[in-house]
């Protein structure tokens, strides 16, 4: 059995030490702050993190060389305070700011503020962020750069009549989309001409309400596509390379749930073509740093530009595991003006990687949030397993931020081995005190369509809607093999209860008291569950 690739093995061509950055400030929290810290430490660069008041005791703070409080819990008063974060960077003499994902990472105003203050923003230019920020504008740019886009308009629709005319020309079904949109808001599927007018008005008002920009355009509707994205790296010398694709079709309400690299729908030739298109897209905006070009891949094998994410993605580790490239290290090199090694990736991924996003949500109770204190924790270990976590035992999962606890990432020589390892890792893992999405992954690992890799972007929503994915807890009591399997829970509960009544319960479970619950109640009345991420 081959061992998982390590960045050291694969990326030994660039051994020269980096000297220009002495200290980098991380303007983020949770697992991505920890992820960036790790590479900084490997490169012998001092790390500083910002934190909000409730994050004082977080894992990121504990692992950092320096940590600075930037405000209270609501993101708008802490992690989104670009002005005070830039000021902080200047006062602690940080050379650069790593924005992570979410928060300020795609805020061109923040990138400009950094520049003005003489601090390097680790990411692309403000112009590149702006150019890719608006859908219609980026569509036009992509058409000019000969990157395939979904057939459709390049201008906002003036009115309902224009929408009807445009839709008729493209042919049904069509999709109406908000130019400033994302996350499914301001989107309407239209099956025939009779529906266009009302769908146009609905999309327009939703777009206006959600994004403050009512511009809507029309595209051909692609049935049951996959979401396949290409990781690119660009530098300030005009080099852009592709590091291959990620398969991100498994989504719930447009949020990625499981990601893989490579995609089983992409062969060598298609990988090459998609990589070329992604490089053209990035070159069109003189892209610097790590970025992702998202495509819809139709069953026909045709692919279409969706959007470009001008930051490090949540799912970047699957690319790291199959290419051996440390993407954060590459971001840092580019930000220091170094040229990227254009032979960094030989064009073919090594093995197969799968990432499962662990959220503090109860997947079989409508994904209800599950804040609380992690009372017990065991991360899986062993061959081919990587955990990128932002929490540890006794961490409090706050209601203020995105509920992602960690990413469980596995590597295998092929997809089947990677999935077996994911199943094994989930069996090994214990997270007590909060509900997590782990049971959803266990259910998916029993699903024949998922196991076959027969994915499209609507598949998970359809399966959840149809109740096809079964809670392993419910499964177990039905299918228990013998009396002991059915009775063990009763044995455990009775023994636990006996201990409690005899007072041998030595340490009351942390946070089970009323004080913790009361705190949630207090904060739940306040504003701002901020920091939503990709």
């Amino acid at each position: 059995m081959k061992a998982a690739f390590t960045p050291e093995q694969h990326n030994s061509k660039n051994p020269q030490a980096m000297t220009s950055f002495k200290k980098v400030l991380i303007a983020n929290r949770g697992e991505i702050a920890v992820r960036v810290l790790r590479t900084l430490r490997e490169l012998d660069i001092q790390s500083a993190v910002v934190f909000s008041e409730p994050d004082r005791d977080s894992l990121a703070v504990r692992l950092a060389d320096e940590a600075y409080c930037v405000g209270p819990a609501p993101s708008a008063e802490s992690y989104l305070r670009g002005d005070s974060i830039v000021e902080l960077a200047v006062s602690i003499e940080a050379d650069a700011i790593h924005p992570g994902y979410g928060f300020l990472s795609e805020n061109s105003g923040f990138a400009r503020q950094c520049r003005t203050a003489g601090v390097v923003f680790i990411g692309p230019s403000p112009q590149a962020i702006d150019a890719m920020g608006l859908k219609i504008e980026s569509r036009r740019l992509m058409i000019d750069a000969q990157v395939p886009v979904v057939p459709g308009g390049t201008e906002p629709l003036a009115d309902a009549a224009a929408a009807v005319a445009a839709a008729n020309e493209i042919g049904y079904p069509v999709m109406l989309k908000a130019s400033a949109g994302g996350g499914g808001k301001g989107m309407r599927l239209v099956e025939d001409e009779a529906e266009v007018e009302s769908a146009f008005r609905a999309a327009q008002s939703e777009a206006g309400a959600s994004f403050g920009n009512a511009a809507v355009y029309v595209e051909k509707y692609i049935a049951l596509p996959r979401h396949v994205e290409i990781q690119v790296l660009g530098d300030s010398h005009g080099n852009v390379i592709s590091l291959g694709e990620r398969e991100c079709s498994l989504q719930r309400r447009h949020q990625k749930v499981i990601e893989e690299a490579p995609s089983i729908a992409v062969d060598r030739a298609l990988r090459h073509r998609m990589g070329d298109a992604a490089v053209k897209a990035a070159k069109a905006v003189a892209y610097e740093g790590a970025g992702t070009v998202e495509f819809l891949l139709a069953k026909s094998g045709e692919f279409y530009f969706l959007e470009m994410n001008t930051r490090l993605q949540v799912e970047h580790p699957v690319t790291e595991l199959v290419t051996g490239v440390d993407l954060v290290e590459q971001q840092l090199r580019v930000a220091q003006g170094q040229a990227i090694d254009t032979d960094l990736f030989n064009g073919e991924p090594h093995g197969h990687a799968v990432e499962a996003r662990l959220y503090a949500e109860d997947p079989f109770k409508g994904f209800a949030p599950s804040p609380g204190i992690i009372k017990a924790l065991r991360w899986p270990q062993g061959p081919g397993v990587r955990n990128d976590a932002g929490v540890e035992a006794l961490s409090e999962v706050s209601i203020h931020y995105d509920p992602m606890l960690a990413k469980l990432i596995v590597w295998g020589a092929d997809r089947a081995q990677a999935l077996r390892r994911l199943k094994r890792a989930l069996a090994e893992m214990r997270i007590e005190g909060v509900k997590t999405t782990a049971p959803l992954f266990q259910a998916l690992l029993e699903d024949k369509d998922f196991l076959a890799g027969d994915l499209d972007i609507g598949m998970l929503d359809r399966k959840l809607e149809a109740g096809e994915l079964k809670d392993p807890a419910a499964q177990e009591s039905e299918s228990a093999a013998d009396a002991l399997d059915r009775d063990i829970g009763f044995i455990a509960a009775a023994l636990a209860n006996l201990e409690g009544s005899h007072g041998v319960e030595r340490s009351a479970p942390v946070g089970s008291g009323d004080s913790a619950r009361h705190r949630w109640r207090v904060v739940s009345r306040r504003e701002g569950v901020g920091g939503s991420i990709s």
Binding site: A368, A494, N497
Partner: protein, 182 residues
């Protein structure tokens, strides 16, 4: 020997435990007798961050039990057996007797699983509901969560009013199976 009534996933059993010493317990469930090795006197099922390892006839089960609630002789536990979550409630025999004469057997009381506010009542007291039918809407963390009946029957009682703030574990409503509702 001590006795208790344990309910997990709708199944109720009388469980008897006898302490044998050296961390061993004899446990009887539904007439079946098990010898359980709890890992010595220092190990504890309900204690600590590592949970407990139970050995029964050589088979190993890793168990976590955290008490989440205590009310009127019944203790509720968040129970995890080999990584699979369950909710267990344990009642001593006397309280069990009192509860049986008190309420209709088999009534299903639904509790708020997180703090929030009741923003809609979808049915009225006395209405008949199906298993899984939405009964009220709880707004928590800016999301509306429909709370469903966990058994078919008649909505006997709402413990909450429209607009009321609730804490996790607070009772919301009770559904009584049709045959025992009168």
């Amino acid at each position: 020997m001590s006795q208790s009534y344990v309910v997990i996933d709708g199944r109720e059993e009388l469980v008897e435990v006898t302490v044998l010493g050296d961390g061993k317990r004899q446990v009887t469930v539904d007439g079946k007798v098990y010898e359980v090795d709890t890992g010595g006197e220092r190990a504890g099922v309900s204690a600590g961050a590592r949970g407990a390892s139970l050995l029964v006839d050589g088979r190993q089960f890793e168990v976590f039990a955290h008490r989440v609630k205590t009310s009127a002789g019944t203790r509720s536990y968040a129970l995890t057996v080999n990584g699979v979550d369950h909710r267990a409630s344990v009642t001593d025999p006397l309280s069990h007797l009192a509860q049986e004469s008190d309420a209709g057997a088999g009534s299903a009381r639904v509790e708020a699983y997180m703090p929030g506010r009741v923003v809609a009542l979808l049915v009225a007291e006395g209405d008949t509901v199906e298993l899984g039918q939405g009964v009220l809407v709880l707004e928590a963390m800016k999301m509306e969560n429909e709370i469903a009946a966990e058994a078919a029957g008649v909505v006997q009682h709402f413990f909450v009013e429209l607009g009321q703030a609730v804490e996790g574990g607070d009772p919301l409503f009770e559904v009584v199976p049709p045959e025992s509702s009168t």
